[in-house]
Each structure stands twice: as structure tokens, then as C-alpha cells.
Amino acid sequence: MADLRSEFIGIKSPNPFWLASAPPTDKEYNVRRAFQAGWGGVVWKTLGAEGPPVVNVNGPRYGVVHGPDRRVLGLNNIELITDRPLEVNLREIKQVKRDYPDRALIISLMVPCDEDSWRDILKRIEDTGADGVELNFGCPHGMAERGMGSAVGQVPDYIEMVTRWVKQYSRMPCIVKLTPNITDVRKPAEAARRGGADAVSLINTINSITSVDLDLFAPEPTIDGKGSHGGYCGPAVKPIALNMVAEIARNPATAGLPISGIGGVTTWRDAAEFMALGAGNVQVCTAAMTYGFKVVQEMITGLHDYLDRHDMALSDLIGRAVPNVKDWQELNLNYVTKAVIDQEACIKCGRCYAACEDTSHQAIAMKSGRVFEVVEEECVACNLCVDVCPVQDCITMRELAPGETDLRTGIARGDYANWTTHPNNPAATAAE
């Protein structure tokens, strides 16, 4: 069996599955049960500065996007950082860490953007035994209005400055948690690295309004007839998070900077994808909030199984897909595929037909008896039919052999060639 033990910026955990800083990690009672369920580590719910804790709304704090059968695809929240007193959290952290020395326990922090505040909080957490700190520069609601969270995360100079203070006043490994609510995620990551961060984690939640109450005419969750934007997470945000992780992993200025991947991790496969794109481990929030702590068991067995099947060590997986993430212009324009329908598997729903017919290609013919066939002369190989077909693997994309003629263009498949040298590219012509 593959070894899932993980070491991330020197922090050891029995597996690479950590719970992200969020309500499941807001108290000792939860974190103990999470560890019992098998989670490798937790990032404790974000702590604020000394003094009266923040207060949360007392109405609903979540909005949701459902898939079929009310499956949770996306969740948004307007919750703030921990609303429990600092001393209570610190006492609990210490007790849990003492009882679970083999698990990773990271403290997430968010205090006002001045040196004193950061020095003070770092001093307070020093003797908890925690393995590291995560700087929450990501929370997009509430705290941002007070100049914290994503308000810091959106200004690379602030990130660099605060990270520097943290490294100056603490010996703990420091993870900078990034907000996705920016234009180019490489900039804050570069700033974190300049400030001395040991790693970045991403993504925190995305600014969102999940739905509008059409009787009250207000965003949901609705508090007394009003709503504010929240932070979006869950399976729906995974594609955005994966891209951001890949951008940092392949950016020369941040290459090699350890990444903790967050955003929509729900199954072992999601976790493996994050890791293939360069994440050293993953953090999970919504999946645990939706299904409970037990989901980690499927992640553990699934990742084991996958690594065994490919005869890989966990470290072999990390970053393995990064070299294959390219700019569009580097893609091979002479790679030609055509859709193929497996008539045995086809249930004749006609979705492929509707999709292709109404999407400018008209490359699927509907024959008598509801037989659906690909018209290779028209097929642009877009893959849409594959995506909308309800039967897995019923439609596949066949790669044309070298030299085989593409019936659509009448051109035989040639060797690798991309846009940079394509005759239609004005820049390519100019270069000649």
C-alpha cells in the first residue's frame, strides 16, 4: 500500500488531507472528532486579536447552489472569523495538540494590519504547541470591510509587509492564505514569497451572491430583508482554484513555493488533481460541512488505490501535471480528434444531437430509429457531445493517426505545429 504520510513545509501528518479553517475546526469538540475520523491535520478556525470577539449574524449565514437531487454544488457564507474568546480557543488548541501529537495543527490568524497587533497575537499563540500559522488574507466579507482579510490579500505590498512581521516575530512555519478575489493570483503569491512565507494556501472563498429571494427581492441568505455578498466555496469553485494553483506552480517567480490546495475538494480524485498541479497537500471545508468528517475515509482509500495502481509514491504525484500546463498558443494545432459514439452504450436520448446541432457544428446526424451518428466532415472535435452525454464513456474522441486525412478540412494530420507559426497568425508572418 502506498504511503500517504505527508510532510508539508516540515509539518508532518499521517495523510495530506487537512480540514480548512472554517466552522468544522472552530472548537476542540469538533477537531477531536475530525482527528478520530482520520483527518491528517486541521487549520483551526481563524483567531482574531485579543478583546471582545466578533459577532456573527443571527439569521441564516449560508446560501447554496444545488445540482440534481439537491446535491450541494456550491455554498456561500457570510460567517466571520471565530466568535469565541481567544483564551478559550488557545486553551483548546493546546489540549488537542497534546493529545494528537502526530496530527498537523495550524492556527489561522487575522488581526488588524499593524505591527503591534501581529506581534501580540504571535506571542499569545507561542506556547500552544501548534505546528504553524496560516495568515487569513482571504475572507471576502465583513472582515474585509474592517481592513482585514481580503482587503489585505488584494494588496501585494500589505501581504509582503505582514508576512515579514510574522517571520520576524515567530519561528513557526508560515502559510499565507490567498484570496481569489483578484485579477492575477501570481502577484499576491510573489508578494508572500518576498515576505518570507514558507507556503501559500488557496483559495479562500470567492465573492458571490448565490441566489435572490424572488418574494423578498433580496440576496440569499437574507437577513431581515437584506443580504450582502458572501464567500463561495464547494465543488463549483474547484476549477477556479485548480487554475490558480497551476498559475502559481508554473510561474517562474513562485515555482517551488509549497502550495496547500483548497477549493471544492470533495473526493480523492479532486485531491489528486490539486496535487498533480503542484499542491503539496489539500484542505477541505465544504465537503466536511456537507457530509461530515467521515468523507476523509473515501479520500484516503481512493488515493491509496490510485497511487498503487500507478505504482507511484505520493511525492511522485505532486506537481506531475505542471509541465503540461501551457499557454494556448503552445497547443498542437495538428492534433486532430473526432467524436465516436458507441452504439451499444447509447440510450438514444439525443442530447448530443441537440448540443451539436444548436452549437454551430451540426456534426451529429439523427437517423431513423433514433440512431445518432457523428458526421466526421463536420466534427470540429469540440467534445461538447461527450460532456452532455448522460452515459459515461459512450462518446469518446478518436485521435487521427499521423497522415490520416481530417474529413472536415481535407488536410492530412501533420506534425506538431502551434499558433506561433501558423500562417493565419499576423504575428507569425511579421516575424518572418
Binding site: 437531487d69 440510450i347 438514444k348 446541432e357
Partner: protein, 452 residues
């Protein structure tokens, strides 16, 4: 087993009122909102969906299911009613496994179709319960049309004509409208007086006058109707019952299944209905199944249905057959009655096994006897009286071309009484609707428009 169940002969009160209430409860209770949404989520929204093609009224099934999924059941109901104004009854009585559900692609996918019938009921119940009629009539045309027969065909035709602004008078021989919806369909499929509620709701469109107790051939003639109205639609169903033509058929307690069923449908107190202890039903269609099942539900101890051909040739769908056997009805295939035995009163029925030779059904040497104190005949219905001047098809039904045009100018026909199509509620609705469109086109020159 109680004494009442075991008493020989034909007696009432075999079961207690409580037992009867359970037996005759809604056989397919409505889906609640959660169930409906879970089921609606299963629909793939197929292109040119095969379920639509399989529906005789062409209801846009993927559209109405999507409307349920988006929590607009009334919009879903309207999608259904546009194509099929008796969508409420059809949701309860259609043999869906042979129609829409039988062609659902989910059968191929995982052997379990989307439950279209149940969803259709979910979509239609609300609008009917609401009472207010959702369609409005077009500007009056001044045209008057006579519809004979207030069954599904006649009602569907009348509604479509009224919607188009015509004035319609429906004549029906019986005391209540609804046709077999009221007098035929098994009780547990349409509980709580739904048939009458549906007719009342349908009539809510206005412009339809209902004259019950008025029979064509007795109180009215086709000639006078043709003279007094701009068009005539016949939806008179099949009033007569085929005879066994065997010895002893006239013995006491040998009767037509349709009469038994209609009595049962009209009974205020089912406990007062007498039923035999050993009941034999002859036939293999829906009527035979309904008589057999309901005899069993009334408390008959042994109910046997005997059909002369093979199982797959039975008119009753597989689902109906399974329902019957699950209620304890025994089904024998490939045997035909050769004599009803007894002394004035039936005591047993003698059967011979059948064989198919050169495509023809023959009686074999072998056979068996079933004890019987009550025998129901359900071997098919036919057109009651030949209607003077109207051409009949080989099947004995009224010959029609296109959307129900008979051989007489200005006279249309549809439903069971007209040739073509299966004898089903939904087919009758489709034929009535299409005839109405054709009548309207003839009378006004407007283009035919059939939704779905």
C-alpha cells in the same frame, strides 16, 4: 378467514368496512413535492423525446418535467392540458409502461423509466383542485356543435371546440357524464369522485351544455342533429358486449364484467355489493383484470382469470397482470370456455386448452373444470347499434378517414367507437381533440393547431 369470506354463493358483506376501505384506496397515491422533485431530476430532457412520440396526445413530457423541477407545477399542468385536457385522468389510468414510460431512455440506461405518469398527476392535481378553469374561450363564432357521448373522446372534443369559441351541446345516454371514466375504470385508480370533479372542472371553460339521459337512436336521431347543428361528433364508445356463445351462458350469475364494474363504481356502500366465493373471469383485457381484481378486493376467496391466448397477447398490460396476481388473482393462459355447467345457476365452467395451428386457434382434447358460483364475461365490447347511413370498418367500428371524418358530411367520430388506435382513454382524448381541430378548420377556415 372469516365466515363471511367463506360463505358459498353470491353474498354481500364478505369484508368489513375497514378492510374494504383499505382495498379500494388509491392504488398509486400522489407524489409529494420532494418525491416529485427527486423524480423530475431524473429526466434527461431528451431531444425529440421518444416519450412524447409514444404519447397518443403528444404531451411535451420533458418540458413539463422541467417545469416541475423548477418548482412551477401549474405551468407543468398547463403544458399537459394544452395537449390533453383529461391529463388528470390519463395520469391515473394510462398503461404507461406501454406508452411514454415504455419508451423512456432511462429503460436502456438503468432499467427504470422516469415515472412520467406519477409526475403528470403531480402537475395536474393542483390546477384541478384549484377549481378555477385555466383556459379562456376565444371570441364566439356563433357555430353550434353537437357532441354525442360524454366520455373522454366527447369531453376532449367539446372542450377544444368551446375553447375555439363554438357553442357545444353534449348528449349522453347515461345519468352522469364521463363515460367509462365514471362507469368503467377500476375504482382504486380514480378515487374520491375524481371523474366527476374532472368533468366539472373541464366544463368550467363555459360554452358547453351537458344533456344527460339523452340517447342517440332513442331520444335523438343523427338526421335531426345534422339538421340542427353545424357539425356532429360521435364519441359513443362501445356499448354492447360480445357473447361467449357457449352452452349455459344464460345461466343465473353469468354476467357481463362491465355491468359488475359499473355497479361497483356507482355503489355508495361496497359492503352491500354481493360477490361470489369462487369467481371465474373470462377474458384477457383491462376489463377482465379490473373485474377479477375488484371481485377479489370485495372478498371473493378464489378468483381465476382465463384467457384463450398466450400471456403476451393479453390486452391487459404486464403491469396490470402483475397487479392482479399480487392481489391474489390466478391467471390461466391458453384455455377457452366450452361450457358453463350447472342447473339454472352456474356451478362450474369447463375449459379446453387451446393450440395455435397454422396461425389459427384450435381447442385441444385436454381441459379442466373450475368451480364457479359467479362468472364474468369480458371478451370484448362492440358498437351497440348500427348507426344508419354510417359506413363501418371491418372491425365493426365507425369508419373514419383523417381526423375522425365519417362517411357522412358534417359528422365526425372518435374514441372507442371509431376505427383505429387502441381502446384507451388517452387515445379517445387525442381523437376527440383532433376531430375538434378539423371541425373548427372546416367551419372557420382557421389553420389546425395541435400542441405537442
Amino acid at each position: 378467514m372469516s365466515q363471511a369470506t367463506l360463505s358459498p354463493g353470491i353474498v354481500p358483506g364478505r369484508l368489513t368496512p375497514d378492510e374494504l376501505a383499505v382495498n379500494f384506496a388509491d392504488v398509486a397515491p400522489p407524489l409529494d413535492r420532494h418525491e416529485a422533485h427527486v423524480e423530475a431530476d431524473r429526466c434527461y430532457f431528451c431531444h425529440d423525446a421518444p416519450c412524447i412520440t409514444a404519447c397518443p396526445t403528444g404531451i411535451d413530457i420533458p418540458l413539463f418535467i422541467r417545469q416541475i423541477a423548477t418548482d412551477t407545477p401549474d405551468a407543468a399542468g398547463m403544458t399537459i392540458f394544452h395537449a390533453n385536457i383529461l391529463g388528470g385522468m390519463c395520469a391515473r389510468v394510462c398503461p404507461t409502461e406501454n406508452l411514454c414510460e415504455g419508451s423512456c431512455v432511462r429503460n436502456d440506461a438503468e432499467g427504470q423509466p422516469v415515472r412520467i405518469g406519477a409526475l403528470q398527476r403531480y402537475a395536474t392535481d393542483g390546477l384541478i383542485a384549484d377549481g378555477a378553469h385555466p383556459f379562456r374561450r376565444a371570441e364566439p363564432t356563433g357555430k353550434r356543435i353537437a357532441v354525442v357521448g360524454a366520455g373522454p373522446a366527447g369531453l376532449s372534443c367539446a372542450h377544444r371546440l368551446a375553447a375555439k369559441g363554438h357553442d357545444v351541446t353534449i348528449f349522453d345516454a347515461r345519468a352522469k357524464p364521463g363515460g367509462l371514466n365514471e362507469y368503467g375504470i377500476a375504482s382504486y385508480k380514480t378515487v374520491d369522485g375524481f371523474a366527476q370533479a374532472e368533468v366539472a372542472w373541464l366544463m368550467g371553460i363555459g360554452g358547453i351544455t351537458m344533456e344527460t339521459g339523452r340517447a342517440l337512436g332513442r331520444d335523438l336521431t343523427l338526421d335531426t342533429l345534422r339538421a340542427e347543428y353545424d357539425a356532429v361528433f360521435l364519441g359513443i364508445g362501445l356499448g354492447a358486449v360480445n357473447a361467449l356463445r357457449t352452452e349455459g351462458e344464460s345461466f343465473q350469475n353469468v354476467r357481463d364484467a362491465v355491468d359488475f364494474i359499473s355497479e361497483l363504481r356507482q355503489a355508495d356502500d361496497r359492503g352491500a355489493l354481493p360477490v361470489g366465493r369462487d369467481v371465474v373471469v373470462i377474458g384477457g383485457g383491462m376489463t377482465a383484470v379490473d373485474a377479477a381484481v375488484q371481485a377479489k378486493l370485495l372478498g371473493a376467496e378464489n378468483v381465476t382469470m382465463v384467457y384463450r391466448r398466450s400471456r403476451d397477447q393479453m390486452g391487459a398490460s404486464e403491469h396490470e397482470q402483475d397487479h392482479a396476481t399480487s392481489k391474489g388473482v390466478r391467471i390461466i393462459h391458453g384455455a377457452a370456455p366450452i361450457a358453463v355447467l350447472g342447473k339454472g345457476k352456474v356451478e362450474a365452467v369447463q375449459f379446453a386448452y387451446t393450440e395455435i395451428r397454422e396461425g389459427q386457434l384450435h381447442l385441444s382434447e385436454n381441459g379442466f373444470q373450475l368451480p364457479a358460483d359467479q362468472v364474468f364475461k369480458a371478451i370484448g365490447q362492440r358498437l351497440e347499434a348500427p348507426l344508419a347511413d354510417l359506413d363501418l370498418a371491418k372491425s365493426g367500428k365507425i369508419a373514419v378517414t383523417g381526423p375522425g371524418r365519417t362517411s357522412l358530411d358534417g359528422v365526425w367520430a372518435g374514441g372507442d367507437c371509431a376505427m383505429g388506435g387502441d381502446d384507451l382513454t388517452v387515445t379517445a382524448v387525442a381523437e376527440g381533440r383532433d376531430a375538434a381541430e378539423d371541425i373548427d378548420a372546416r367551419l372557420t377556415g382557421r389553420p389546425v393547431e395541435i400542441p405537442g
